[in-house]
């Protein structure tokens, strides 16, 4: 990240601390209305007005888990079909080899298993986790993001971002504290 080539320390973004979700929501709405685009909020539990205010789309997890489940169902059924009817057919009094009703329980279990695992790993991957370190963890106050404070971070790669201007702007949003987060 040396493309700026300046002496001054790199900034991840400007972090504002709120003690109330309503204040955070109105801060987000105002910042977005005023043209800021690169921002994220950090809350100790999921708060839907905050997520909606940030304009995040519907989660992509549904299709991921659905496709994962379909793959599991297909593999589960084909595994049974192939082992019981193709690779090692056992002729027991002429009963059908492709006894599909008997294959349903395992197919079903495989569907649930793969759908769940694709949900877990899909979420972790999309969130970019596991993550060894994140610039926000440089901030001491940010420790309360997992306890009882609500944070808004306007990131440095926002086109409108400039240190002094953004800091002054954010203090107008009514936070408890504002902090510059180094990279």
């Amino acid at each position: 990240m040396s493309d700026h080539g300046h002496d001054e320390p790199q900034t991840y973004g400007m972090l504002a601390e709120f003690d109330d979700t309503d204040k955070l929501v109105s801060a987000i709405q105002k910042a977005r209305a005023d043209g800021y685009t690169k921002m994220d909020a950090y809350t100790p539990y999921p708060v839907s007005p905050v997520i909606d205010a940030l304009g995040f789309p519907k989660s992509e997890m549904g299709p991921i888990m659905f496709i994962g489940g379909l793959i599991g169902a297909a593999c589960g059924f084909l595994m049974q079909y192939w082992t019981q009817a193709v690779d090692y057919p056992l002729n027991i009094a002429g009963r059908p080899l492709i006894s599909w009703p008997a294959f349903i329980p395992v197919t079903f279990e495989m569907t649930i298993l793969t759908a769940s695992l694709s949900g877990l790993f899909g979420m972790i991957a999309l969130c970019g986790l596991p993550l060894y370190h994140h610039p926000l963890f440089n901030s001491k106050t940010f420790e309360r993001a997992s306890v009882d404070r609500f944070f808004l971070c306007i990131e440095a790669d926002d086109p409108k971002f400039d240190k002094t201007g953004t800091m002054a702007y954010m203090s107008s949003l009514g936070p408890i504290s504002i902090e510059e987060v180094p990279v």
Partner: protein
């Protein structure tokens, strides 16, 4: 207000959430049990000691079993599974309440699940571990367990996928894996909280690793809620399927009284019945020892007791149906086996079961009983014993099926008992470790239960309707 007269302890409440002011307080209350070793109650050490000794008995009985083989057990022909399948079904049934609470009650928008889902899910995991041990050890050569899976091997053979026993392997492994995933997804934000509040380096590193670097970002929450809701949706049919498949182990066999279509729903109801009894047995000591009466309130115990009463009646209906069907079918063997079940050499166990599962839970109609810790605890223990007897009665049917030349007797040996009691110790040991090292109540979800002025959402959980 009439209910208040049953509550004697001032810390107790029949609201869903007692007096807790704000987000910080709730985090501290639940989190500090884990982070601050001094908060561990004395009873924890006492029970840890008991559990440790019982674990040693478990290890001893397993060692003897592996050295001499399954001949040390009381199993024989006709009762080829004996204690192994009784205990397997008993344990896995107990586990089902955890999934019911965490998944089905979430889908049904039952807010009272929030304070009890975490430890109920832990109960599920540990109960399934104990359950899985029994079929594994019954194999005689458990190190060949992988033959149950379709892994290419030198014998060039595959598992028989038309057998309920193979379905069972898939059902139980899937159940364990999905329960673990569900539990872990729920834990991630709590682990992040513990990481941020850790009091020393070891805690920071340990919780930090498992928190995966979670930072509570809004877009992450959006995915998180969706995954959580979807996992609940997937676990719901899963838990029903698992016990259905367990019942197929019996119902697909041509044994009189086993070969019945009532078995799957009857087994599922029984599983929930014993599972809720398990939850109550764990919740009552926990809320007392850890001073959690304002989080796991009277309301929760009351609801659990009501579910027990309802499922107990379902199970009793199952008992009635079995007898009625035997009479109505006019099938000689059904009728005769029923007669043997009720009045044969093991008839006492049937009447034990009727007492424990049908008569004893009737006291739960009384609010006074449901609001009394000791009485509720005793009823739950009776239910757990009764549900053990239910599986005993089913398995012992094998001693009196079809022709008298097939009849036999069954008696467990000391090693059967030691292994069974040993798994109780293993369960207690694991559960106590869980209480010590992980938050026993979901901190994240409790935050949403707080009133709006305390920083919460008045109990509105968006996981219930995640977009």
């Amino acid at each position: 207000m009439a209910t208040a007269s049953y509550i004697k302890d001032p810390n107790d409440t029949d609201e869903l959430l007692g007096c807790i002011p704000n987000l910080g307080a709730i985090t501290e209350k639940i989190g500090d049990v884990v982070l601050d070793g001094d908060k561990t109650p004395k009873q924890w050490f006492l029970w840890m000691g008991i559990a440790f000794v019982t674990c040693l008995a478990f290890l001893y009985s397993v060692t003897v079993l592996l050295y001499y083989g399954v001949g040390v057990w009381g199993i024989n022909i006709p009762v080829a599974w004996g204690f192994a399948i009784i205990n397997f079904v008993w344990w896995i049934g107990i586990g089902h309440a955890g999934t019911l609470i965490s998944a089905i009650l979430l889908l049904l928008h039952q807010r009272w699940r929030t304070s009890i889902n975490r430890f109920a899910e832990a109960m599920t995991l540990f109960a399934v571990m104990c359950a899985g041990l029994f079929p594994l050890l019954h194999m005689g050569r458990p190190w060949f367990f992988y033959w149950l899976y379709p892994i290419p091997n030198v014998a060039q053979m595959w598992p028989q996928f038309r057998s309920p026993l193979v379905w069972d392997v898939f059902a139980v492994t899937t159940y364990f894996t999905v329960s673990l995933v569900f539990w872990y997804v729920g834990l991630i934000p709590d682990l992040a909280t513990l990481r941020d509040r850790s009091k020393n380096k070891i805690q920071k590193i340990a919780y930090g690793i498992f928190a995966l670097g979670w930072r509570g970002s809004a877009i992450h929450w959006r995915r998180y809620e969706k995954v959580y809701l979807m996992l609940a949706g997937l676990s719901t049919p899963l838990v029903l399927s698992v016990h259905t498949v367990v019942s197929f182990d019996f119902a697909v066999a041509l044994v009189p009284l086993w070969h019945a279509t009532i078995f799957p729903p009857f087994f599922v109801a029984g599983a929930i019945f014993s599972g809720f009894a398990g939850v109550v047995v764990l919740a009552i000591p926990m809320r007392n020892w850890y001073g959690m009466k304002h989080l796991i309130t009277r309301k929760h115990l009351d609801n659990c007791a009501k579910v027990m009463l309802a499922t107990g009646m379902l199970v009793s209906y199952g008992y009635f149906c079995e007898v009625w069907m035997a009479w109505y079918s006019h099938a000689t063997y059904e009728t005769q086996t029923t007669y043997q079940r009720l009045f044969g050499p093991y008839g006492w166990s049937y009447w034990c079961l009727i007492f424990c599962n049908f008569i004893a839970p009737q006291v739960l109609w009384s609010k006074r009983i449901r609001y009394n810790d000791l009485a509720l605890f005793i009823v739950s223990i009776i239910v757990l014993i009764g549900m053990w007897f239910e599986r005993y009665v089913i398995v012992i049917t094998l001693t009196r099926e079809y022709l008298p030349s097939m009849w036999g007797r069954y008696a467990p040996t000391m090693w059967d008992w030691m292994l069974y009691i040993g798994t109780l110790g293993v369960f207690t040991f694991l559960f106590l470790l869980f209480l010590r090292f992980l938050p026993m109540i979901s901190i994240t979800e409790m935050r949403e239960s707080l009133p709006k002025k305390g920083g919460g959402q008045d109990g509105h959980s968006i996981m219930e309707n995640a977009p």
